[in-house]
Symmetry: C2
Subunit: 306 residues, 2 copies
Amino acid sequence: MHPFTKYHPESVAALGEEALIGRIRRWLGPVSPRAPFGIGDDCAVLPGARGRQLLTVDPVVYGRHFDDSIPARAVGTKLLKRNLSDLAAMGGRPSAAVIALSLDPRTSLRWVEGFYCGLAAVARRHGVPVVGGDITQAEGVIVAGLTLLGAAAGPRVLTRTGARIGDLIYVTGRLGGSLRSGHHWKFTPRLAEGAWLADRPEVRAMMDVSDGLAKDLPALAPAGTVPVLDRALPRRAGCDLRAALTDGEDYELVFTAAGGAAAIALERAWRKKFPRVRLTRIGRFARALPPGAPNLADYHGYEHLR
Amino acid sequence: MHPFTKYHPESVAALGEEALIGRIRRWLGPVSPRAPFGIGDDCAVLPGARGRQLLTVDPVVYGRHFDDSIPARAVGTKLLKRNLSDLAAMGGRPSAAVIALSLDPRTSLRWVEGFYCGLAAVARRHGVPVVGGDITQAEGVIVAGLTLLGAAAGPRVLTRTGARIGDLIYVTGRLGGSLRSGHHWKFTPRLAEGAWLADRPEVRAMMDVSDGLAKDLPALAPAGTVPVLDRALPRRAGCDLRAALTDGEDYELVFTAAGGAAAIALERAWRKKFPRVRLTRIGRFARALPPGAPNLADYHGYEHLR
């Protein structure tokens, strides 16, 4: 859906900020708590947190993360799900979200309604209260930044460090072709899987694949090692190796785990717990790249600002 | 400072995202904790929080909150201070910040360096770790959104509700002329004052003045009352009543307190605690507007998106 309108009465400018905020609270519905626990005061008041907390921020930008080809609802769902995927990557669960929206004054109310209704549907499904935000005018753009506060779902937070030489590398789902297939907004963030993995001691490091495996995976490699992809990658239909490594926006989990009996137990337990989510062992960390294995440095993952 | 450059080697695009993030960590210096407690993992890991927490988000947008007339450093300081002012308005203190930056690829590195160095200086002064963020390309704009997590400085969080009929209305500092005087980026967020006020039981409701007193103050009025401004407003030099009521970006605290002996004690204690910060009683809440008192509805405060 094209987000701008030439017909002033249908634009956010015609409504003005205060009335728009009223509508947003209605569109958000039950995920918008009353002030001061939600929209309407200088800050949102949140309860204390016993264990460790997690904080992440990710935006969607018109022309970059979405365009006219996807519904406004999908933009809202994508924004929240991208951030949920970051939480999932550490074994977290969401506590609260705030949204900073910069809108061209010609943005149509219908587009904004779709955006918030889509976002609210995901927020309801995952129990994320949307507790605040800000709306500002910015000519010619739509930038929506969502900050997500969360907490460790269990006793352990799984970070990008901790992998050891010889660890096996696993990935959930399939890689590549995210834009073409609509996966970039249709995906389901791997929250249950991430929390479960953080509870397994044989799992040692984890992240989500958002900029393409070739760019992301080196962040998990222990010092002095390289990732060796010695098994077939789970690719989306129509994707070659390059697409699977570099397309980006996969929003899958990649993690490392101890090998041997622990790995067999992990794979068996996964199949029982998540029978419908594919888990693939794709490689291991080694001191040097064996001949014939793909060198990730030859595949350029997505880099912003270039 | 003009933020864009025509000379590609001086632009953020020439550097690319990864190298830019490395520089940002250097510019932030000691306020950038190591991953996973800071920049570098999918989320930042934060400690638990015993008491109630506060969450707020506010952006700065090129052409709206800043232009070429102010230094890049001032943009960074303004961004963090705006959010600190929101925390101050509830009697909070900061815990952590994340920044979502949307940049035109022609943005000059010098501008971005100034922005982060200015922000880091304020973060150091107030002990705010900058724990994460995101950088995205967006043509033709600079939008920087900062989300601030905080906690109640004392046992009480002061909200916008709680004022009673007959309450006196106070404001800190002076109002009006913020843009002209540079106050909009030179101001000091009233954190110490806000925390102190939240600890005084005679203080009943508080907010910060950011969109102009005429627009903001009605949010504190108890149902069935109007704010009666029956005393002179503390105005910045060269400002008339309209400017003081509507200019916006004052970043002062406005609060209500019980009258009588409590008010006298409050004013005396304030002068002792904050001898250099002006506190002015500007009015009270009443059932009806007496003849001659300014009607705030006649003054149009700043409204976004119009």
